[in-house]
């Protein structure tokens, strides 16, 4: 089975801190995604990557950046954390023809910014 692993289940950070959320997948998937999940809003795409060192903005990229130096790892960076970035963050991966197979998701990282 494809596994997508997010390094932390829970994180508490202070306002203004630089925060790194890590995601690793073990099935050689080309595409990787970062979503943010908030009650009543569903999942909103922050950034995605279709290859190493490639990235594309999603629907809500403001306040975030990403890094993909290796195929299996996709990092989400909060340059200066703010309380409105308190949320559940979900990483996912897929093959390029992902429409036939959907995505595989990690278990999520619940981030609280205080």
């Amino acid at each position: 089975d494809v596994k997508v692993t997010q390094s932390s289940r829970y994180l508490v950070k202070r306002t203004g801190e630089k925060v790194f959320l890590e995601c690793v997948q073990d099935m050689d998937h080309e595409n990787m995604f970062w979503y943010r999940q908030d009650p009543g809003l569903g999942l909103r795409l922050i950034y995605f990557s279709y290859d190493v060192k490639m990235k594309e903005k999603g629907d809500i990229p403001e306040g975030y950046s990403v890094s993909r130096e290796k195929k299996e790892r996709f990092s989400l960076i909060l340059e200066s954390a703010s309380t409105n970035q308190t949320s559940m963050y979900l990483c996912a991966s897929s093959i390029p023809q992902g429409f036939g197979y959907g995505y595989t998701f990690g278990s999520g990282t619940r981030l609280t910014v205080v």
Binding site: P96, F99, G108
Partner: protein, 114 residues
């Protein structure tokens, strides 16, 4: 642009009763549609998908969904729910613009009562 609407934010159902979750999409061509389930504290798990062929799709955990083009709907059903079906359910449509992103609905929270 594609969009997905889940009209019901919250549904309460008795154990053993039937369940139907509604999903409406807006999309010009033949959509690729998915249902995901998220158990408490977990990531999203793919229940089923539709992209062509038979309009009644069977999934895991005893769920099925029916694609109705005339109504732009892809409703999820289960004949008899179990307490373990308490979760949040997300409908999603695959976007065929560059790099193919999943567009999610806001989710429906299902509560199962004894």
């Amino acid at each position: 642009a594609q969009s997905v609407t889940q009209p019901d934010i919250h549904i309460t159902v008795s154990e053993g009763a039937s369940l139907e979750l509604r999903c409406n999409y807006s999309y010009g061509a033949t959509p690729y549609l998915f249902w995901y389930v998220q158990s408490p504290g977990q990531g999203l798990q793919l229940l089923l998908k539709y992209f062509s062929g038979d309009t009644l799709v069977q999934g895991i955990k005893g769920f099925e969904a029916e694609f109705k083009r005339s109504q732009s709907s892809f409703n999820l059903r289960k004949p008899s729910v179990h307490w373990s079906d308490a979760a949040e359910y997300f409908c999603a449509v695959f976007s065929t613009d560059s790099w193919g992103k999943l567009q999610f609905g806001a989710g429906t929270q299902v509560v199962v009562t004894p």
